[in-house]
């Protein structure tokens, strides 16, 4: 038998107390893991959103008469419309940072009369568009024929259409391939149709109103891409879109700070619980310690018993805290930060949880263990 066995047997044969002792630490660690996991997931989600919205460029003709709005970007009025050429889209990929360009999605915007209502129709290249709009959720099928359209959620309910419904736009027949689930943006009010079909409908073949460009990453040199694009398209106005993501970042930063504060408080309480239970354990085990010392255990042997116990407890609490905390985060994150947020079982977080548990466990039981080791055996044995 070794000293470790003494510690192990104490924990093993007094399960109730062991559990109580571990619980204080476990709850603290679990809370921290949950908060860290949720905020990390929110950050990851934000990065993804920045990829989706933030790093995009919008290219419009250098025109003046501003009146139409699309996705927060004001577009030239079609009346005095100048168009970009559809061919320009291909030029964008030729810029020096062309590697970073993910999707180039040219668009033609057209105010139309659909089933006797005025709506905005957007001619798009569906394969490009669907690649750029990763957040789109369709009810129905992807359009396969030129006269098939995707209808935004609000537009769909105004028109009273469902997937498969026929609609008439500017007197020509189209079919609804899919309805767009609500996105909360101006996309909800639009009808998306095939670019070339729309060009024919308006009688402007080869023309587009704008080109949306999405870059690969959240950290791409977006300003450089803007400059390079403006250079190859001198007649166009190139703008980077960031505002939405920036606003969201502020919120996430705030939540992170708040979470860190809470985590600190919870950990302090956990440390206090470890400290008090250890102190109680020392005084409860005074006679025991007296016996150990009388038998010839040195002070450090007695400390070792307590440290082995806290080592085992901390490992237990750290591991369990990680499991409970991550589980909690998986339940909480979607509720707090939207369905798209997912929490992974992160081995790095597991290691962090265990290290944190050890630091707090040892930090909080250093003094009690020292006290235990310094008990005078005669005094200890007298307290019968």
């Amino acid at each position: 038998m070794r000293i470790l066995a003494i510690a192990l047997n104490n924990l093993r044969r007094r399960k109730g107390r062991t559990l109580f002792q571990a619980l204080g630490l476990l709850i603290g660690i679990a809370a921290v893991v949950t908060l860290v996991a949720v905020t990390t997931a929110m950050r990851a989600d934000l990065e993804k959103k920045i990829d989706e919205f933030g790093s995009n460029l919008v290219i419009v003709p250098k025109a003046n008469d501003l009146s139409l709005s699309y996705g927060g970007i004001t577009l030239p009025n079609t009346a005095g419309a100048k168009y970009l050429r559809e061919k320009d889209a291909a030029l964008i990929r030729t810029i020096p940072d062309g590697e970073s360009i993910n999707v180039v999605a040219p668009k033609l915007l057209a105010p139309v009369e659909a089933d006797a209502r005025r709506l905005l129709m957007v001619g798009v290249l569906f394969p490009e568009e669907l690649r750029a709009k990763k957040w789109w959720r369709l009810r129905g099928t992807k359009p396969t024929a030129p006269d098939q359209v995707i209808v935004g959620a609000n537009a769909g309910s105004k028109l009273g259409v469902r997937p498969g419904s026929p609609i008439e736009v500017n007197g020509e027949k189209f079919q609804v391939a899919a309805l767009l689930r609500p996105t909360g943006s101006s996309e909800d009010d639009l009808i998306f149709a095939d670019l070339h079909r729309t060009q024919n409908l308006l009688g402007v073949p080869g023309k587009v109103s704008m080109i949306e460009v999405s870059a690969w990453c959240s950290s791409c040199p977006i300003e450089r891409i803007v400059a390079q694009t403006a250079y190859v398209l001198p007649s166009a106005k190139v703008t980077a879109v960031k505002q939405a993501a920036a606003a969201r970042k502020t919120t996430v930063d705030l939540v992170t700070k708040f979470s860190l504060g809470i985590a600190g408080a919870v950990l302090a309480v956990g440390a206090l619980i470890v400290f008090t239970t250890m102190m109680a354990s020392v005084s409860e085990r005074t006679r025991e310690i007296g016996v150990f010392r009388a038998i010839g255990f040195r002070k450090r042997h007695v400390m070792k018993i307590f440290f082995f116990e806290i080592l085992l407890l901390s490992l237990l609490a750290g591991a369990a805290g990680f499991v409970v905390g991550t589980g909690g985060a998986q339940l909480l994150a979607p509720r707090l930060a939207g369905a798209a947020v997912s929490v992974r079982w992160d081995p790095l977080v597991a290691a962090g949880a265990i290290v944190l548990a050890l630091v707090i466990g040892f930090g909080a039981s250093w003094y009690p263990a020292r006290r235990a080791s310094q008990l005078d055996p005669v005094e200890a044995l007298r307290s019968l």
């Binding site: 007094r14 006679r287 007296g290 016996v291 150990f292 010392r293 038998i295 010839g296 255990f297």
Partner: protein
């Protein structure tokens, strides 16, 4: 730290030991100029009224209670000249304790309790086997797996004795080992001590019980922290009456 004074005569010697505790109303004198020699193979019973300093004497013999003045020599070692940690090592090597109330560790089995002194020893051989042998010696063969609360008072006493002798200490110290037992069981425990003594262990035991004391080879009688004068003329007379 071996004291090479010429003290090879006795195994253990207390020389002019005085112990004064600091109480709330000044010093409480527990022992006053006590000198005793214990020989190898001795079986001494320490007797005397309550408060006469028996436990104090035993803890001083136990190398865990430094006297206010005086010296203790064991094997020529000036015991209280040792540092605190060296004292612990000394206890480990020389002493076995049987505490009042047995003081078994509740979460360790009988065998594990017996093994406690071996946890810190640099002894070779199977510690478990040594513990089993010690349990056998006290008549508890095969009961090593039980926890203290699954043992009777007498059995707990036996485990405590097995723990005290498992590492073959030079001296076994016992403070009222039968105090919590009925007379029948107490008698069995005393027979065990007698057996240990016959096997060569030196034993110093505090007891209130005259029948127990009768097993001892000699009686050390304390009164108000002193050895009464009469003690010298006829040992134990004061306590036996």
């Amino acid at each position: 730290m071996v004291d090479v004074e010429d003290r090879v005569g006795s195994l253990l010697e207390l020389v002019h030991i005085t112990k004064t505790y600091q109480g709330p109303e000044g010093g409480v004198s527990a022992l006053d100029d006590v000198s005793i020699a214990i020989e190898e193979g001795d079986f001494a019973a320490v007797m005397g009224p309550s408060g006469s300093g028996k436990s104090t004497l035993l803890t001083i013999l136990g190398a865990m209670n430094p006297p206010t003045s005086g010296k203790m020599y064991v094997d020529g070692i000036d015991v209280y000249g040792l540092s605190v940690e060296r004292l612990a090592d000394f206890r480990k090597r020389y002493l076995g304790f049987v505490f009042q109330q047995h003081q078994l560790i509740p979460y360790l089995t009988a065998a594990e309790n017996v093994m406690l002194p071996l946890v810190i020893c640099e002894c070779d051989g199977s510690k478990r086997a040594m513990a089993e042998r010690a349990l056998e010696r006290v008549g508890l063969a095969g009961m090593g797996g039980r926890l203290p609360n699954q043992l009777s008072g007498g059995e707990q006493g036996r485990v405590a004795i097995a723990r005290a002798v498992v590492n073959e200490p030079v001296i076994v110290l016992a403070d009222e080992p039968t105090g919590a037992l009925d007379s029948q069981t107490g008698e069995e425990i005393m027979a065990l001590f007698k057996q240990l003594n016959d096997d060569g262990h030196t034993i110093v035991m505090v007891t209130h019980n005259h029948e127990n004391a009768a097993h001892a080879k000699r009686i050390v009688c304390l009164k108000d922290g002193r050895l009464p004068e009469a003690e010298e003329a006829s040992p134990g007379a004061y306590c036996i009456k």
